[in-house]
Amino acid sequence: MNTFFFVVLTIITVLMLVYFYRVVRGPSVFDRVLGLNGISTKAIVLLVLIGTMFERVDMFVDISTGYALLNLVGALAIAKFLEERGASSK
């Protein structure tokens, strides 16, 4: 089962790389924000996955809860600022 989890972890990491490509290349600044959101969602999943592999889900779930909440605050702040600044920023 641990091998299976490791394969899942590797696949999700590769997918993070795809989103990272969007963060680097994305034509507008909102593409970058979207890519960052995708990465953070995957980070939340990966945390629970790592916790399952270590058989310490109780500890890792707390962090991924915190992650999810902080991610909301950060993303809302970024969106608020970008709303004012506009699409002029690349």
Binding site: V61, D62, T65
Partner: protein, 156 residues
């Protein structure tokens, strides 16, 4: 309603802390009541909320999401990429905050449609293709969310 919110927060604390001695549980009770006490009163203007409809709504929404998820996956995996994105102005009878939140969240959560702007009585929705657009326009979501807040006959 406030007592219920406090109780929900306390249950959340119990689930997350998972240590059931008197000290931790008392701390949880104090913190939950503090949060309820500090948060503003006069919760979102909700006419009536039917728990039975909510229980029905969640599985329906999950089924809906799965269905349109497969639909959007087919769109993306198709080599020809047959998408027709468009912005739709979606008139709705729902106007209170709670209804709009549930409606907008459900629309965004369903693959193929995303809420762009929200105003009372009108949503601007971005739809990925014609099928998602038609589905939205059929007023299914409004009907369901309306039933959640027991508003009859909101079908457009």
């Amino acid at each position: 309603m406030r007592i219920f919110a406090g109780f929900a927060l306390f249950v959340l604390w119990l689930v997350l802390s998972a240590s059931y001695n008197i000290l931790h549980m008392a701390t949880g009770a104090v913190v939950a009541s503090m949060v309820v006490w500090l948060s503003p009163t006069g919760a979102p203007h909700v006419r009536r909320f039917s728990w039975l409809a909510a229980l029905m709504y969640v599985p329906w929404l999950i089924g809906r999401i799965l269905k349109s998820g497969f639909h959007v996956s087919r769109l993306i995996l198709d080599p020809a990429l047959p998408i027709a994105p468009e912005l739709v102005r979606h008139k709705t009878k729902l106007s209170s905050d709670g209804e709009l939140v549930v409606l907008g969240n459900s629309i965004t959560l369903t693959p193929g449609t995303i809420t762009v702007e929200v105003a009372p009585g009108e949503l601007i929705v971005h739809a990925l293709d014609v099928a998602s657009c038609e589905e939205l326009k059929s007023g299914l979501f409004d009907d369901r969310v309306g039933r959640l807040f027991s508003v009859k006959g909101d079908k457009k």
